[in-house]
């Protein structure tokens, strides 16, 4: 946040300006800088470019495609003023405490249920902690407390372990009774 006024423009004004972002399928998105900055990756690019930032020629995103970026932008728009997420864990079990999601967030994930992994990949690349952690939590919901058969079906997992490997796993982890 130290170099927010890199362009000699104060931060609130800069946030209102538009920037063009180009995804890997050559689609151009015109986005308010304040929204694009929810992504730390984009924020870093804007800061690195500093003076030389040409708002109209755009920022290329070689690892994200248009349809996914559209969904990500929807999240960024909603979360542009959101505080940093707090990651907490239970001191005894050391399990991560689950985030409580807002109505909007629940609805968002309901809408894009079939794109969770694309969202996770994009959020990881774009460094959007809220989207990344929440998507991972959504995916973990499909594991938590379920039976092995349900998990296998849910993720379409092929059992590629040999009998020897399975025996070895059972030997080193006595709790793995499945």
């Amino acid at each position: 946040m130290a170099t927010e006024s890199a362009n000699g423009v104060s931060s609130p004004e800069l946030n209102e300006r538009d920037v063009v972002i180009t995804t890997n399928d050559n689609r151009n998105f015109t986005v308010k800088i304040g929204v694009a900055r929810v992504s730390k990756t984009i924020n870093n690019m804007i800061q690195d470019l500093g003076e030389s930032l040409d708002l109209s020629s755009g920022i290329p995103l070689p690892n994200v495609d248009g349809p996914i970026f559209e969904k990500v932008l929807e999240w960024c728009e909603e979360h542009k003023n959101a505080p940093e997420i707090k990651v907490e864990q239970d001191p005894h079990t050391r399990e991560r405490k689950w985030f409580t999601m807002t109505e909007w967030e629940e609805e968002y994930f309901r809408k894009f249920l079939s794109h969770l992994w694309d969202l996770a990949m994009a959020a990881n690349y774009l460094e959007i902690p809220s989207l990344y952690y929440y998507t991972c939590q959504k995916l973990a919901e499909r594991i938590k407390g379920r039976t092995p058969e349900q998990i296998r079906e849910m993720f379409g997992i092929e059992d590629d372990l040999t009998e020897e490997e399975k025996a070895e796993i059972r030997r080193t982890n006595v709790w793995c009774t499945y």
Partner: protein
């Protein structure tokens, strides 16, 4: 549900390890035990020395047995009700059998209660440690064994850390040991083990023990950096209390002071006067559960340290005086003290619904999360879950027997259950028995009547040999089906120190078919 134009089967392979690792941070160790055997990639992520996957398996049941004619064996049970049993036999050695790896025991202590012999205690711990594969990881270790003299304490201090890795250690120490300064160096169990001491303070020894008490609590003489709580009993005239206050006002290092001191069975009645005379002032009020299950607001009294930014807070409830030391600068981060232990929400058990297998009738213990301020965000959410859960309509198991709930405070559980009962279409799937412990509401009769219950008969209940009561059984009939719900409100007894005392109310609900 399953997306899959792009082929879900590749999902596991396509998603990078890093993201899988992040996903796995959200699930319990029990879940990881399943996932690790799903496929090669998951196994690599989970067992590959990840520093992020630190979650520990919670072990609830720990049993062991030493029979002169049989082998020593150890039996432990996880949250997912997986039970591991290890027997001591010659071939087992060095087999890499790590039962305790990535685990933590909820509580340990009952099992050594019969030990009369400190050698036997050591031998048991050593065996458990050997069988489990590493130092026994325990959240709270309660030493029921009564260490009779300093020699025994020294022995215990010597071997305990070798076999047990305890986050909390609770010890019952006789007064002749604790008030002898020679013993104090044996209370240091390292910075990661918080030490809690229970002891007695007899008035006949006041002149001798008071100086010791002052020095002990002051922390100036102690080796241990991690004293947590001191519990005293049999105080009779305020001498302990005044000594502690004096020690507090004189201490130069309040951070070494005992963090909490409880004085049980306080025999003095004029706490308010004594507190005032010693410079305490009432600063706020907290709700406290009284014997019989009533909530009462009680004053918290506070005295500030004369020079440093620390304060001592005192509350007197039910003949127990609770003292707590507080750094004033940090006060805001210390939650306002809730005397009752209210924790864990039911929703985490929500996921377990499907594991109440079809064969056995489990008894479940649930804590419902409610705040005394009634601003709890969880009540609306959990009340809904509760209704669905008791109704049995969502359950796989045909054999759910009993549900035990804790910390009901305003009748919300009770009313939710009644509503669920009136709406259920399959009462045979309903929980057969529901106990609500620690009921905080006093107007059971009124609430029951408002919800359509009628007293139908009386039963004689024995609370203690001297105390028998006739109690009304209230009944509510199902609006359509030939089923009824019966409710009794009774008083529970609990052990405090060495005595049984009435502690809290339990509402018992039972569902039955009417012929």
């Amino acid at each position: 549900m399953n997306p899959s134009d792009d082929g879900t089967s590749n999902l596991v392979k396509d998603l990078p390890d890093e993201i899988w690792e992040r996903i796995f941070t959200n699930v319990s160790r029990d879940d990881l035990d399943l996932c690790t055997r799903m496929c090669r990639k998951w196994h690599r992520v989970i067992e590959g020395g990840s520093k992020r996957l630190t979650q520990r398996r919670v072990i609830y049941g720990l049993n062991f047995c030493r029979d002169p004619n049989a082998r020593f064996w150890l039996k432990v049970t996880s949250q997912r009700r997986i039970t591991i049993r290890v027997e001591d036999c010659p071939t087992r050695q060095n087999s890499g059998f790590y039962v305790f790896k990535n685990s933590i025991l909820d509580c340990m202590g009952e099992s050594v209660s019969d030990s009369e012999d400190i050698d036997l205690l050591e031998a048991d711990l050593k065996k458990l440690c050997d069988l489990g594969g590493e130092r026994i990881p325990v959240k709270s270790f309660i030493l029921h064994y009564y260490l009779r003299n300093i020699g025994q304490l020294e022995r215990f201090h010597h071997f305990f850390p070798y076999y047990v890795n305890a986050e909390d250690l609770m010890m019952d120490i006789p007064s002749e040991v604790i008030w002898n300064k020679e013993s104090w160096k044996y209370f240091d169990f390292g910075p990661t083990t918080a030490v809690n001491i229970m002891t007695s303070f007899y008035s006949i020894n006041v002149p001798r023990d008071v100086p010791s008490l002052k020095e002990l609590v002051s922390g100036n003489f102690l080796v241990s950096p991690n004293f947590n709580k001191l519990e005293l009993s049999h105080e009779c005239n305020g001498v302990c209390f005044i000594s502690i206050v004096e020690a507090f006002c004189k201490t130069t290092e309040p951070s070494k002071f005992f963090k909490e001191i409880d004085i049980h069975r306080c025999g003095f009645s004029e706490f308010n006067r004594i507190a005032e005379e010693n410079g305490f002032e009432p600063v706020r009020q907290v709700p406290v559960l009284q014997p019989g299950g009533y909530l009462q607001m009680i004053n918290v009294h506070r005295v500030g340290h004369p020079k440093l930014k620390w304060a001592l807070e005192a509350t007197m409830a039910d003949k127990t005086l609770k003292l707590k030391i507080i750094e004033i600068a940090k006060e805001l981060v210390i939650p306002s003290q809730n005397i009752l232990d209210i924790e864990s929400c039911m929703y985490c058990y929500f996921d377990f619904w499907k594991y109440f297998g079809p064969t056995t009738g489990y008894s479940l213990n649930w804590d419902i999360k409610t705040d005394f301020d009634f601003d709890s965000t969880n009540v609306p959410r959990d009340a809904l879950s509760l209704k669905e859960f008791v109704s049995g309509n969502f359950l796989v198991s045909p054999n759910l027997k009993k549900l035990e709930l804790f910390h009901e405070c305003n009748g919300i559980c009770f009313i939710s259950i009644v509503e669920a009962f009136c709406k259920t279409t399959e009462p045979s799937k309903f929980f057969k028995e529901i106990d609500i412990h620690r009921c905080g509401f006093s107007e059971f009769n009124r609430i029951a009547e408002e919800n359509g219950f009628k007293p139908v008969r009386q039963v004689l209940l024995e609370f203690s040999p001297q105390d028998r009561h006739k109690i009304n059984v209230h009944r509510l009939d199902h609006p359509k089906l030939k089923w009824a719900l019966e409710a009794i409100m009774r008083l529970r007894w609990a052990r405090e120190w060495l005595y049984w005392r009435p502690r809290y109310k339990t509402l018992k609900l039972k569902i039955m078919e009417i012929d």
